[in-house]
Each structure stands twice: as structure tokens, then as C-alpha cells.
């Protein structure tokens, strides 16, 4: 076995909404649409910060986070979450996904920092998808936090009149 070295010729980008893009390596400064190649440039200046220049228009861009192969990009005020995969990692992911079972528990987290006004469910009670479980007050707005699934409440971590941070666990639901 003389040669174990493999060359990566292509990278795949998977969006959190299951869309797939691919780019050949070495990465070009152009993107092909139909039969034409369009130039794409990443630039930065004092007034606008970082932006992408594409078809004579500037689009603001920001890298919100990058962890290993996972990137959150803010492009023209909309955020996209991608994972960049090599042909090998993509193959491995497919295998792993086919082995993985169904999600059994759903965790309802605080979508924003704020104060819990009211907890509308108890441990052991049934909830339906779309039913409000917690009322969270943030920035002068009362927000109903809805259950994303049908199921049974197994744990209530939220307490009325307490402050929570973004992504704090509020409710644990057993799906089904």
C-alpha cells in the first residue's frame, strides 16, 4: 500500500435547512450561474466593514461563529448555518445518520434573555404542539413560548419571577 494520500477535489456545504452546495478546489473567485462566471469578492472598508461584492452590489457579511466545520454567516442581515464537508466526512455522516434513531426528548429553551412571567404547565401534564408553555417577558414584550411537539412534560426548570439567559432550559418534554 504505497499511497494512502487522497486529494480533496471538492467541498460540500450543507445548510441547516438541508440544502446542499458544492465548490471545487482550489476555490475560485467566481461562481458559475448558467453558462456565465460571475466574480465574487470579499472586501472590507472603514465605512461598511466586511462585505461581498457580487454583480455590482455590496452585501454586508459577518462571521457570527465558526466551530470546526460549522459556520454561521450573516449575509445581508440573514443568518445561515452551514457545515462544510469533505467527500469523506459527507460519506461518514450519511452512514451515521442512517444508524441514528428518532429524537425522543424535546428541550424547550429560552429564545432570548428575559424574565419568566408565568409557567403554564406542570410536570406530568400533556401538551400539544403550538400550546403555550411559558410566558417570557423581554424588552417590554410578553412572549408566549410554545411547545414544538406533542408530548408529556417530564421536567419544568422554569420558575415564575426568575430571570433567564438565552438558551436556558425551560421545559423538557417526552415526545409522543
Amino acid at each position: 500500500m504505497a499511497n494512502d494520500k487522497l486529494q480533496i477535489k471538492k467541498l460540500y456545504v450543507l445548510s441547516s435547512e438541508n440544502r446542499k452546495f458544492s465548490f471545487s478546489l482550489p476555490l475560485k473567485q467566481t461562481i458559475r450561474i448558467g453558462k456565465r462566471d460571475y466574480e465574487v469578492k470579499l472586501k472590507a472598508d472603514e465605512k461598511y466593514g466586511t462585505y461581498i461584492l457580487w454583480k455590482n452590489r455590496k452585501y454586508p457579511v459577518e462571521i457570527v461563529s465558526s466551530r470546526q466545520n460549522r459556520y454561521e454567516i450573516l449575509f445581508n442581515d440573514i443568518s445561515y448555518t452551514f457545515t462544510v464537508e469533505t467527500p469523506f466526512s459527507l460519506q461518514r455522516m450519511k452512514v451515521l445518520n442512517s444508524k441514528r434513531g428518532k429524537v425522543e426528548k424535546e428541550y424547550i429553551k429560552a429564545p432570548m434573555p428575559g424574565k419568566i412571567i408565568d409557567v403554564l404547565v406542570r410536570e406530568g401534564s400533556n401538551v400539544l404542539q403550538g400550546e403555550p408553555v411559558v410566558i417570557l417577558s423581554a424588552m417590554k414584550m410578553q412572549n408566549e413560548i410554545l411547545s414544538s411537539v406533542n408530548g408529556v412534560i417530564v421536567k419544568v426548570s422554569a420558575r415564575a419571577n426568575t430571570n433567564v439567559m438565552k438558551d436556558d432550559l425551560l421545559i423538557e418534554i417526552k415526545v409522543g
Binding site: L27, I31, T86, P113, I135
Partner: protein, 501 residues
């Protein structure tokens, strides 16, 4: 007594807005510096800054009546402008100002009290023969009573807080089984928000348009209206976009509704600027909802189509001056649209996204007006509302205003927090918005996607992610990875570890 110096009992864009007109009228202003926003933009527009940064009380100073009165007296301000929100519709605050010989720039405490209490306001409207959605005659004691009334007027009904506003303490009930839960939620919410748990029930009008009339009245008994605004684009009763005039009204209906609005204002001897809100159903029946006894966030669209500075009028009226114009002098010209650009994450259900504004670039164009209280370096803090700026765009008609708005939205650059910009970019392209057939249910019912991105934007973002990946993980654009030593390790991780040695 004439107004010489105004204490602005508010912050943010409305403080800046009031100071701008005050300066034009050669009136001095006092702003309050708080510990939460010691570098806020509104401070730079004031003649006098009262430093309240030592005050660490949990209640914002803008809600502290005694403190504000003391500040006004200390800084020799002989008038107070409350702006909107905070104490703007607090009758006790208005009375306290008067008691201390400070001019309250707004209506009388009596008018604020009567219109602020929805149950009294309904009685006044009923007595004046103003069309209203049927409902309970007064407050209701419990859910059983609510069920009885609801069965009489027919479901769906809406439970509303007697002292409410801004959508809090409101719950729609579609069947009697839901009443108990909703009654408790609404009553609790009302108590928390307004310190008054009392609620009433009225018929819920499905898919109406929100139409409101701007009122101006002086202390000599002259009351006129400045036409309508349409604020049907709202989410959870929070307005997002307002326009003036409304495409739903013709001259005849405008006259009829305007007359009713003036009549309501007359019933409480109203003076200063105020707003009478109506719901308009698909058969063009209208129903009185409430009267707001203050300057509204969306007042600029009316200023643009009438050419009248509403803050100037408020100050003149507070000085006991007579209105310079009569109803027949008011001509509506052109079309204006206001987008409330808030620090909210549209992709996460409009969740507030407080943070520091890294950069802020607004279009400068004759058809664009920007009212803002923030600049690059300012922070949107969690203790106040999430507004960054109001983008106000005009055109000779609705079509042109929408076109200009679309153009202006692409020129707004805000970095540092997520904003409602993608929502407006979607909205101005939406068929139902363009043809004017949208109702207050638009966001809830007609939208599948809350934001706009053009065809290639996601792909360009993906390209950027790839570029970063290549830069961070693969030193070269063409890379060789030895898989012998790391079968279970992802190539980038392996690469990183190797680089660390």
C-alpha cells in the same frame, strides 16, 4: 407663562425628535443621563444634561414621577414633554406637573384618565353613538360571567385589560372551553403590566384593518383631524409598518370616520395631539377601539402628508395658542411609509437581539427621513425597547412610495445586531402588501417566510463558509491528508492538531 425650557421625560429617538423641534422654536431642552445609557445619542442634542447615573433604582427614572418633577424643578424646566411610552399616558403625572406649575405638553389629566380607562372610554363612545364592537358593559368579575357575555355576542371574543394598551393583557377566545385559561392569563398579564387586573370582553373582529386618525385640538375648543394612518402590519399587536393615508379609505369614508374621531375627542374636551384608533372590517364597517392621548411612534407619516410638525403643534397648544388652521385647510398630499427597524431576529420569531451597533449607514435621499436615537457605537439595551431607527419614505402616490421604500431598504446598513430589515425587504415585494389587501392577520396568516433573500444570497454565503474552511483548515487550496493515523478523526480536526505541535 410661556415655555422656555422643556424637560424631556424620555429617551431614544423620540427625545431626539422633540429636541429638534424645540431647537427650531428657540426653546431649551433638558435630557436625563442614565446609568443604563450614559453615552446615548439623545444627550448630545440637549442644552442641559441632568446626570442621574448615580441612581441605581430598578425602576427607570422615566417612570419615576417624584424624581422627574424634582429634576424639572432643579433644572428650572417650566415644561415637560413625556414622549410616548413611560409616563406619557399617566394622568397622575400630568396632574403632578400642573400642581408644581410645570406645563405638561399633552392633554389634560382628566382626558388622559378617561381615555386611558377603556371601560370609561367605551361608555363615552357609546353615549356619543360611535360604532363599537359589542361587548360587556363594564369590567367582568370572572370567567363564568365572561362565558355568559360571550355566548350572547357570539364567539370569537377578545378579552382586554381595562387599563391596557400595546397588546398586553389581550386574549382571543374562540370557544367556551378556552375561557377559563385565557381569562386567567389576561387578568394576570393586566395586573403585571398595568397594576390593574380588571378586564372586559368584546366581540373579536376577524381580519380587520387597523385605521387610526390623528387629532389636534387647542385649548380654545378647536378640534380637527389630520387624516388617517393605516397600521395593519403588526405582530402580536405591535406595529411594524405604518403608512398614511390608507388605501382602504375613500374621501367619503375618510370624512365620516374623521368626524367620529373628532367627536370622541370633543367628548373629553381634548387638547394637544391624540390618536383615535378604529378597526375597519372587509365591508368597510368601522368600530372604535381606543384613543391614545399622546404623540405616537408613527406620527412622522402624518407630518409628511400634511406638512405639519406635530411636536411644534403640541408645544404651541401647551402655550395656549390657537390652531392656525381649520379642517378645510388640511390637505393630504402624497404617500408616506414608516418601517420600524428594530433589533430583532426575524428568523427567530422576532426575538429581541440587543447588542452594540457596530456601524449604522442610512440612505440620504430627499424622499427618505430617518428618525433615530442611535449611532455607531450605541448599544440597544435590554431594559428598553428594541428600536434602532424609523425609516420614513415618501412618494407622490402609494406605488412610488413602495418603490422608494424598496430602494431605501437596500441602502440601510446596520452591523452589530440582527434587525427587522429582511422582514421589510420581503414585505415591500409581497403581492398582498402591494395591492393593499392585507389585514392585521397578515403576518400570522399570509406569510410562510418572514424574510427576503434573493436567489443567490445563500449560495454566496455558502461560498464564504467554504473560503473560511479552506483558510482555517487547509493551508493550501489543494490539500493532501494522510488518513493512516486518524481513521476516526475528521480531516480538519486532524489538521488542526497537527498544526498545534
Amino acid at each position: 407663562m410661556k415655555i422656555k425650557r422643556i424637560l424631556i421625560a424620555n429617551r431614544g429617538e423620540i427625545a431626539v425628535r422633540i429636541m429638534k423641534t424645540a431647537r427650531m422654536m428657540n426653546i431649551e431642552t433638558v435630557a436625563v443621563k442614565t446609568a443604563v445609557e450614559p453615552n446615548a445619542m439623545y444627550l448630545s442634542s440637549a442644552d442641559v444634561i441632568y446626570d442621574n447615573t448615580e441612581d441605581v433604582s430598578e425602576i427607570p427614572v422615566f417612570l419615576d414621577i417624584e424624581k422627574l418633577i424634582a429634576i424639572a424643578l432643579k433644572t428650572k424646566a417650566n415644561a415637560v414633554h413625556p414622549g410616548y411610552g413611560f409616563l406619557a399616558e399617566n394622568a397622575y403625572f400630568a396632574q403632578k406637573c400642573i400642581d408644581n406649575k410645570i406645563i405638561f405638553i399633552g392633554p389634560s389629566p382628566d382626558a388622559i384618565y378617561k381615555m386611558g380607562n377603556k371601560t370609561i372610554a367605551r361608555k363615552i363612545a357609546l353615549a356619543g353613538g360611535i360604532p363599537m364592537a359589542m361587548g360587556s358593559e363594564g369590567n367582568i368579575a370572572n370567567e363564568e360571567e365572561a362565558v355568559i357575555i360571550a355566548e350572547k355576542i357570539g364567539y370569537p371574543v377578545i378579552i382586554k385589560a381595562a387599563s391596557g394598551g400595546g397588546g398586553r393583557g389581550m386574549r382571543i377566545v374562540r370557544k367556551s372551553e378556552e375561557m377559563e385559561k385565557m381569562f386567567i392569563i389576561a387578568s394576570k398579564e393586566a395586573e403585571k403590566a398595568f397594576n390593574d387586573p380588571s378586564v372586559f370582553v368584546e366581540k373579536y373582529i376577524e381580519n380587520p384593518k387597523h385605521i387610526e386618525f390623528q387629532i389636534l385640538g387647542d385649548t380654545k375648543g378647536n378640534i380637527i383631524h389630520l387624516g388617517e394612518r393605516e397600521c395593519s402590519i403588526q405582530r402580536k399587536h405591535q406595529k411594524l409598518l405604518e403608512e398614511a393615508p390608507s388605501s382602504a379609505l375613500d374621501e367619503k369614508l375618510r370624512e365620516k370616520m374623521g368626524k367620529m374621531a373628532v367627536q370622541i375627542a370633543k367628548a373629553v374636551d381634548y387638547h394637544s395631539a391624540g390618536t383615535v384608533e378604529f378597526l375597519l372590517d372587509s365591508d368597510k364597517n368601522f368600530y372604535f377601539m381606543e384613543m391614545n392621548t399622546r404623540i405616537q411612534v408613527e406620527h412622522p407619516v402624518t407630518e409628511i402628508i400634511t406638512g405639519i410638525d406635530l411636536i411644534e403643534q403640541q408645544i404651541r397648544i401647551a402655550n395656549d395658542k390657537e390652531l392656525k388652521f381649520r379642517q378645510e385647510d388640511i390637505k393630504l398630499k402624497g404617500w408616506a411609509i414608516e418601517c420600524r427597524i428594530n433589533a430583532e431576529d426575524v428568523q427567530a420569531g422576532f426575538a429581541p437581539d440587543p447588542g452594540k451597533i457596530e456601524s449604522l449607514n442610512m440612505p440620504s435621499d430627499p424622499c427618505v427621513r430617518v428618525d433615530t436615537g442611535v449611532q455607531a457605537g450605541s448599544s440597544i439595551v435590554a431594559s428598553y425597547d428594541s428600536m434602532i431607527a424609523k425609516l420614513i419614505v415618501k412618494g407622490k402616490d402609494r406605488k412610488e412610495a413602495i418603490k422608494n421604500c424598496k430602494m431605501a431598504l437596500d441602502k440601510v446598513w446596520i452591523k452589530g445586531t440582527k434587525t427587522t430589515l429582511p422582514f421589510f425587504r420581503m414585505l415591500v415585494r409581497h403581492q398582498k402588501f402591494q395591492d393593499g389587501s392585507f389585514t392585521t392577520a397578515f403576518i400570522e396568516k399570509d406569510l410562510e417566510k418572514y424574510y427576503f433573500n434573493s436567489e443567490y444570497e445563500e449560495m454566496l454565503a455558502a461560498w464564504l463558509a467554504t473560503k473560511l474552511f479552506v483558510k482555517e483548515n487547509l493551508n493550501d487550496d489543494s490539500i493532501n491528508i494522510d488518513f493512516k493515523h486518524g481513521k476516526d478523526m475528521s480531516p480538519w480536526l486532524l489538521n488542526k492538531r497537527i498544526n498545534q505541535f
